[in-house]
């Protein structure tokens, strides 16, 4: 039983079911991020928690109170919208206290709450301005202030950073994280940006096609993705998915793949049960950072395999250099140290760190455990 309990929640529009049997239990103080491509149902789920859309079947409870059919204003939630949704005709101060006024909180208490929130968010000097006179970042703060002032059980964020420019987005991201650590409130946060999901959350629910594909900590999601969709959606650049066949050599399972030079290479698996798949085809998932130059390899990793291959395109990105190469007939991205000595078109000695490699069943697209 969580603090925010979503049990078997389903949403249909007419005959079309857009959200299928969602089960998520969020503990108090958790930061849950709903992430997925557009149209996956994450915003619908958030709106259902907020009460802006009704639940077709199933149950949503906050703090042991079943919320089905309860009006949004009586759920003790606050929401930050993508467009900030600041009332254009009201000053910042009025915007922040409007909810309190509607809940008939007396004026002195409202002013007190306004003072503490505006101090917390450092927007004291903006209180008399109208939203139209604020910059994007300031509007963002005011929108958060409006949510904070209510002191709700659950905060709901609907892609709050997607309207900001890249630099400000990173700053605000840090700020939201700081705020969460300071206030220890329960947050449900919707985004399509997997980096936001990874950095902010204590847990992530990856959604696709109206299903929760995987629910877990950022590390679980990143290291042990449940299926092919989660594997490729989370992480940038995306995980390399290579067709390979399983062979057993010296009693240990290996993945056999072909290099760009037409030679076959054997990559030992980190899990012994892969022997069951001997002679069968699988999809091997390797993160770009697990394919690197010999000096860039993680010294703690147990299984490091050298592999010689021809370098395709190199993309220096400042902190790292990305290089593509052909493996098993696919373009494969590797991540080097920035000053790795690598030249386009030449043979280079890559190393593959198989510690974190994962294997998928090509039919079901599920991870082989």
């Amino acid at each position: 039983m969580g603090f925010l309990d979503i049990k078997n929640a389903t949403k249909s529009y007419g005959n079309v079911e857009v959200l299928h049997n969602v089960d998520i239990a969020v503990e108090e103080g958790e930061f849950l991020v709903l992430v997925g491509p557009s149209g996956c149902g994450k915003s619908t789920l958030l709106n259902m928690i907020a009460g802006l859309e009704d639940i077709t079947s199933g149950e949503i409870a906050i703090n042991d109170r079943v919320m089905n059919g309860v009006h949004p204003s009586n759920r003790n939630i606050a929401m930050v919208f993508q467009s900030y949704a600041l009332y254009p005709n009201m000053t910042v101060a009025k915007n922040i206290t409007f909810g309190l006024e509607m809940h008939k909180v007396p004026k002195p208490e409202r002013d007190e709450a306004l003072q503490s929130v505006s101090k917390l968010l450092q927007i004291e000097q903006l209180l008399d301005r109208k939203p139209g006179q604020l910059s994007g970042g300031q509007r963002q703060r005011v929108a958060m202030g409006r949510a904070l002032v209510r002191n709700p059980d659950v905060f709901l964020f609907d892609e709050p950073l997607s309207n900001l420019d890249a630099k400000l987005r990173v700053d605000m991201r840090t700020e939201i994280k700081k705020l969460h650590e300071k206030l220890k409130t329960t947050i449900v946060y919707v985004t399509h940006d997997q980096i936001e999901a990874m950095t902010l959350s204590t847990r992530i629910a990856v959604m696709y096609n109206g299903y929760v594909q995987q629910l877990g900590t950022p590390k679980e999601i990143y290291d042990t993705p449940e299926n092919l969709f989660v594997a490729t959606f989370m992480g940038s650049p995306a995980m390399n998915i290579l067709p390979a066949s399983v062979v057993v050599k010296d009693g240990l399972p290996h993945a056999e793949i072909t290099t760009s030079e037409g030679q076959s290479a054997l990559l030992p698996f980190n899990q012994e049960n892969m022997s069951d798949w001997a002679g069968k085809d699988i999809l091997l998932g390797i993160r770009p950072e697990a394919i690197t130059d010999p000096d860039g390899v993680d010294r703690k990793s147990k299984t490091v395999v050298p592999i010689s291959n021809r370098v395709g395109v190199t993309e220096p990105a400042g902190a790292d250099t990305f290089a593509t190469m052909e493996l098993a007939g696919k373009d494969c991205i590797s991540r080097m140290r920035a000053d790795a000595d690598i030249t386009t078109g030449e043979i280079f000695d890559f190393v593959i760190n198989m510690d974190k490699a994962v294997a998928f069943d090509p039919q079901s697209e599920m991870r082989i455990k």
Binding site: A50, G51, L52, H71, P72, S73, N74, I77, A78, M79, F81, Q82, S83, A85, Y87, P88, N89, F98, G99, M102, H103, R146
Partner: protein, 292 residues
């Protein structure tokens, strides 16, 4: 940069002169009827009957204006247009106010509280914009009779409200369609109710469209003749009907100068509304079309 600008001005100079000349002629052409009305309303009758309609007055007099306002023969009573002017005001102000408010609420519901078949309902409401007045005369007379409102100013208010709702709903619906729904949702979460959201969040941002709606309704209702002539008679008639009666009065000589003055008096309120709020009218008409 500046040299480029001067150049472009120079090449267009002759074309520009032609454009201005053309516009000036058109403006004069449009102003001509008004000029004739004003000029002839301040002449003694003898000057009109004995001379040139276009000529400026030799003897200036405001006598025709005073007569049109308070002493001229309207129908059988020598009351001038004054009582009818107030009839029109008593009809126009409530009718405009009620139809605008109802249109705003309709627009709010049709965009922010969507329900099944709401577009069909809106489509049906739009019909009232296209149905010719003549078609509803007889049914409307029946209904006014049943309600006991026939021949009264209240009856006319009802008719104009019913006829006005179609247009005012159209205006407000299209305006509110561009109004961000997230604001309504935020207000809902903040605990604002149906009407609180309407007058605290939507109304303060509805200035331009309200002006458009008021101007449109005001001119239409003020200028209406058919409903006024059909549903109000005698001393309850609006200004337009009274003006007709003034001009049609068959006793004695036709006092063209008084007629001209009366016609200007009848057109004055709408003219005033345009001058005062015209700027917002153009702005409001554009507002719905371009987002952001």
């Amino acid at each position: 940069m500046s040299s480029v600008q001067t150049q472009s001005v120079q090449t267009g100079r002759i074309t520009r002169k032609f454009i201005y000349l053309f516009l000036l002629l058109m403006a004069l052409f449009y102003l001509l009827p008004f000029f004739i009305m004003v000029v002839n309303s301040v002449k003694p009758l003898s000057e009109i009957t004995g001379g040139n309609m276009m000529a400026l007055p030799e003897v200036f007099t405001i006598e025709p204006w005073l007569a049109a306002w308070s002493t001229a023969q309207v129908g059988v009573e020598p009351t001038g247009l004054r009582p009818y002017f107030w009839n029109s005001i008593k009809m126009v102000v409530p009718a405009v106010a009620i139809s605008t408010v109802l249109g705003a609420i309709n627009g709010y519901i049709l965009t922010k509280w969507r329900f099944k078949y709401d577009t069909i309902l809106f489509g049906l409401m739009l019909f009232s914009c296209f149905i010719p007045f003549q078609i509803v005369l007889i049914p409307m007379a029946r209904i006014l009779g049943i309600l006991g409102l026939s021949g009264s100013t209240y009856g006319l208010i009802l008719v104009h409200v019913v006829y006005g709702i179609g247009f005012s709903t159209l205006y407000f619906r299209n305006y509110y369609a561009a109004f961000p729904t997230e604001l309504v949702r935020a207000a809902q979460i903040d605990g604002a109710g149906f009407f609180q959201i309407f007058y605290r969040i939507l109304m303060p941002s509805s200035g331009p469209i309200t002006v458009v709606c008021v101007i449109w309704q005001f001119t239409n209702i003020w200028n209406d003749f058919l409903f006024g002539a059909s549903f109000a008679s005698g001393s309850g008639a609006p200004m337009t009907v009274a003006l007709n009666n003034l001009v049609q009065s068959s006793t004695g000589v036709k006092e063209y100068n008084v007629h001209f003055a009366g016609a200007i008096l009848a057109a004055l309120p709408t003219l005033l509304v345009y001058i005062v709020a015209g700027r917002y009218f153009v702005r409001g008409l554009m507002a719905g079309s371009v987002k952001g």
